[in-house]
């Protein structure tokens, strides 16, 4: 026990003595949460529109006034027909509304910059809405369940957590073990009478503690600044996160038993862990939209199940019974990785 | 070039890292063509002192000239006239032997003709003709060390600084390595060498012994042994270094 204590102390000193890395590990989740919470949104806002009008009538004036007062639009003013191409191409406008009046009928044409399709689609919908407003009232009412302001920040909290823990637990742990291998200090420990299990624990516990601190910080920000609803599910959130942290740690251990240089460990964990986590975990891109074979691949990515469970708990406020499937999967993955890396560790030692 | 007899001249050179004084007011001269041994325990400040002389580290106070250039104000000129072989093996392991030679000799401003004749001479003297195209990382340690020395002197510098050049090498290779040093010295090159091995100190014209950042003794091996009335440099070192406070 005393040996374990001193090993942990050594590792903690090691982490603390590199303040830059530590500050980044703690600041990065904070910055990411704040950026997603307050800076980034997928909403289409501030669409810049210019208009071409061939004959001014009460109807066109009325229409342009409606666009001018609508807060979604920035009305750039009137322009001429041969400027249309230039304005769109150089990115000075997002859409041009061309109004032609032949005889008494008004005909409108929207020319949208569809290089960004989401933008173009929304522009068309908005303008049509403005033009048709009052002509035909919508037959439907729309509400939103959960997340009533449609803030996408909520949605990203689980994703960020899923990514950060992989980063800290897996990458930091594996690199720190491989560095000791490179320096030869690992051999020093291994030939000493200390049990290998103690050495592994001495490596894992400090990073586990660091992850707990980061979990605490992220939850504080999510539940206060980002305004996630507080409820009893917080306990479940913590429990599932702890399970995921252990899982990521086992991953780091596995990487460290395979990699022989820091560079390999870094690139290995960055390419094998980070890219799939970002691409296939459903963190940014919905899994339903993926081709089927990629959906199958996403099943073996732990972050997918963690993020799914966290969404249910944090955003939908569902209770534990809704996430037993995810829990079982995460738990068995942890056991598998843990035993795999321990086997690897012992067999590499015998060599 | 009339003051050429003193190739290195050091006065009150000091280096502090915060509160810690690694090198504490050292003063000495090195004559042209000399093999000057720089001895001391680990952490005595040898490498720090050497790095200041090579222009790798800025002195906190004091002054020194190397090949008649001031190290504080003419650092880049100093670098043009010295060679340096660091404690860590410092050729590019991923480059071939000829690529390393070409790289370093070009940096020292040698023309293609000069590089050709210098490298031919080098291959011949080291017996490395067959290894031109070998990657450096595939060479045995002894060869690497000899090659590193040859590369650091390829531009015919006035002084060559060797920082523990024979660390981790077997006695036979060490012997051969010292033959190279003698040869360079005979050709008029000044050699400034730090070492752990006290038997190597016997090969030097003069040695200085650093203890806790200061130079505690400086003379020829013979004179030192007479002064302390002992038979080997090993004993000299033990007597001089016995008051050392710093360890490792």
């Amino acid at each position: 026990m005393a040996i374990l204590g001193s090993l942990i102390k050594k590792e903690v000193l090691h982490i603390v003595r590199d303040p830059r890395t530590m500050v980044i590990t703690i600041l990065m989740p904070v910055v990411l949460l704040l950026l997603f919470g307050f800076a980034i949104s997928t909403e289409v806002n501030d669409v810049r529109i210019a208009a071409v009008v061939d004959r001014h009538t009460d109807e066109t004036r009325n229409l342009l006034e409606k666009i001018r007062v609508n807060h979604y639009f920035t009305f750039l003013g009137l322009t001429s027909e041969n400027e249309v191409e230039y304005l769109l191409r150089s990115g000075k406008a997002d859409a041009i509304l061309i109004l032609r009046t032949d005889e008494t009928r008004l005909k409108g044409e929207i020319v949208a910059d569809a290089s960004n399709p989401t933008n173009a689609q929304s522009v068309a919908t908005y303008i049509m809405g403005v033009i048709n407003n009052g002509v035909s009232s919508s037959p439907v009412l729309t509400y939103t369940l959960y997340n009533p302001q449609m803030k996408s920040s909520y949605n990203f909290v689980p994703g960020i957590m899923g990514m950060i823990f992989i980063l800290i637990c897996a990458i930091m742990t594996s690199v720190s073990i491989v560095r000791e291998k490179e320096n030869g200090t690992m051999n020093l420990l291994l030939v000493s009478p200390i049990k290998p299990a103690t050495i592994i624990l001495g490596k894992l516990i400090p990073y586990f503690l660091l992850s707990c601190i980061i979990l605490l910080i992220m939850m504080l920000i999510s539940y206060t600044l980002l305004g996630l609803p507080v409820s009893v599910t917080i306990i479940d959130v913590v429990l599932v996160s702890l399970l995921y942290i252990v899982l990521s740690l086992s991953f780091g251990l596995l990487v460290s038993t395979i990699a022989d240089s820091q560079l390999t460990a870094l690139i290995g964990s960055a390419v094998i862990l980070m890219l799939p986590v970002i691409m296939l975990s459903g963190m940014i891109f919905p899994i339903d939209n993926m081709p089927v074979f990629l959906q199958f691949i996403s099943c073996v990515i732990p972050a997918r199940w963690y993020i799914e469970a966290m969404r249910k708990l944090m955003i939908q406020q569902l209770d534990f019974s809704f996430i037993y499937q995810e829990i079982i999967i995460l738990f068995s993955m942890t056991i598998l990785l843990m035993s795999l890396s321990i086997c690897k560790f012992y067999s590499s030692q015998k060599k | 070039m009339k003051k050429c007899d003193k190739v290195i001249s050091v006065k009150d050179l000091t280096k502090k890292f915060g509160n810690f004084t690694a090198v504490d007011h050292i003063t000495f001269d090195v004559q042209k063509g000399e093999i000057f041994g720089f001895l001391g325990a680990n952490g005595a400040g040898k490498t720090t002192a050497m790095k200041m002389l090579c222009g790798l580290s800025r002195p906190s106070s004091g002054s020194a000239t190397v090949a008649n250039y001031d190290i504080s104000t003419q650092g880049e000129e100093v670098k043009r006239h010295i060679g340096y072989m660091s404690q860590k093996f410092s050729l590019y392991e991923g480059l071939r032997v000829d690529e390393n030679i070409k790289l370093f000799s070009t940096i020292y401003g040698m023309t293609d003709d000069m590089i050709k004749s210098a490298s031919d001479r080098l291959y011949k003297s080291l017996n490395m003709e067959g290894m031109k195209k070998t990657l450096v990382k595939d060479l045995p340690v002894g060869w690497k060390q000899k090659l590193a020395f040859a590369v650091s002197t390829i531009h015919n510098p006035e002084v060559v600084f060797l920082d523990e050049p024979t660390g981790g090498v077997d006695p036979v290779t060490r012997r051969k390595f010292w033959e190279l040093i003698y040869k360079a010295s005979e050709e008029g090159m000044t050699v400034f060498v730090t070492t752990h091995y006290l038997d190597e100190a016997e090969y030097c014209n003069r040695v200085s012994i650093m203890v806790d950042g200061k130079i505690s003794a400086l003379d020829s091996p013979k004179a030192l042994k007479e002064k302390f009335n002992v038979a080997t440099m090993d004993e000299v070192f033990r007597i001089v270094a016995k008051d050392a406070i710093r360890e490792d």
């Binding site: 569809a114 290089s115 939908q316 | 410092s90």
Partner: protein, 370 residues
């Protein structure tokens, strides 16, 4: 003379990079992986929206509404149930995203204009919820319009008076929008991480000391670290464009030379940043973490995935200091719209200033002396 030294240093960089066991593989594999997989994944189009319908009307009209939703391309009917609670359950276990509630006697009350259907969207995935709700609304509106026409009560004769022309991407293919952006992501990652790792590696193995003791000028040395990434950047972009052409059928509409030119400038920005970070780090982990932080902020704040103009004022101001913002603007304009360089002089100039200043910072922070 200087040119000869630079040439020798470049030979060294290229030979070392070529013989590195991982880096060449990474430079080839990353573009392939990202360009082949991500466009399949990075699909923010909303499809497969699950709709649960609470049908309290049970009339011919309500059945038609359900049928039309089932037929709509991006919608699928998850379940038709009797109570709202039952419907909520399908949302909670993730099977449905939108609930449509048709009130009792809807078809009867409709003609008097007194009744409306309710659409509730699951806001957990905000985009999917919002667009899903819109799709359902459109589908319902379509059904109602048809029904009214059949009933002879056509109330909206003028709705067809607006037409939409989608320029540059008439099929509204989201992939086209993402492909230039993915090339930027690749460049950010490769030209950011590799020079950083490369220089820190020289520090850790000690070869940097052998360089520092030679009279080589630090500008030339740093330049030899930056220039290889012009080649790497051009290679990555070329692979990206080839895949874009062969796999996705998307060719740049504008001048390819202009794309290459911007790529060189941008790779200089990223590798300059990488060298500057490496100059100030002592271990690999440290440099990677600092670089990672920069890369995350670059990707999020440059308008790669989310529009800059939907950010709040303060965040928009921040984006002016984010170099990839300008590169993305250039890439998207040239690639998709064929904008001539003369209309993009502004981002080009800013990118050029960034490239020069980052290179100077890289050279200035490089210390030959400690």
């Amino acid at each position: 003379m200087k040119i000869r030294i630079l040439k020798a240093l470049l030979c060294k960089e290229i030979a070392l990079m070529r013989r590195n066991p991982i880096i060449p593989k990474m430079i080839v594999a990353m573009p392939l992986m990202v360009m082949l997989v991500l466009p399949l994944v990075a699909n923010l189009d909303v499809r497969n929206v699950g709709v649960t319908i609470v049908d309290n009307d049970r009339s011919q009209l309500s059945r038609r509404i359900i049928y039309d939703i089932q037929m709509a391309t991006s919608l699928t009917v998850t379940k038709v149930c009797d109570t709202h609670n039952e419907a909520m359950l399908t949302v909670e276990n993730g099977k449905a995203d939108v609930i449509l509630t048709i009130p009792p006697d809807y078809s009867k009350l409709l003609l008097s204009g007194g009744s409306k259907v309710d659409i509730e969207a699951n806001g957990v995935n905000a985009t999917k919820g919002m667009l899903g709700a819109n799709y359902v609304a459109q589908s319902v509106a379509g059904t109602l319009k048809q029904w009214r026409e059949e009933m002879g009560v056509d109330l909206t004769p003028e709705t067809e008076k607006v037409s939409v022309l989608n320029k540059y991407n008439p099929t509204l293919n989201f992939r086209n929008y993402m492909i230039p952006a993915l090339m930027v992501v690749l460049l950010i990652i490769i030209c950011g991480f590799v020079p950083t790792l490369n220089l820190v590696n020289e520090k850790e193995t000690g070869t940097i000391e052998a360089m520092n003791v030679t009279p080589v000028s630090r500008f030339i040395f740093v330049l030899s670290k930056l220039i290889p990434f012009w080649v790497v950047g051009l290679f990555v972009i070329t692979v990206g464009m080839l895949i874009g052409r062969l796999v996705y059928g998307l060719t740049p509409h504008g001048n390819i030379l202009a794309i290459y030119c911007a790529t060189i400038l941008f790779s200089l920005v990223m590798s300059g940043l990488g060298v500057a970070i490496a100059n100030n780090s002592s271990t690999m982990l440290q440099s990677i973490f600092v670089m990672f932080a920069f890369i995350m902020v670059f990707q999020l704040m440059s308008g790669l995935f989310t529009p800059i103009r939907s950010m709040p004022e303060w965040a928009q101001c921040v984006t002016y200091a984010i170099p990839p913002r300008y590169y993305i603007e250039i890439m998207r304009s040239i690639y998709l719209k064929g904008t001539p360089v003369s209309e993009l002089w502004q981002p080009y100039t800013i990118l050029f200033i960034f490239a020069v200043s980052f290179s100077i910072i890289a050279a200035m922070t490089y210390k030959k002396q400690s």
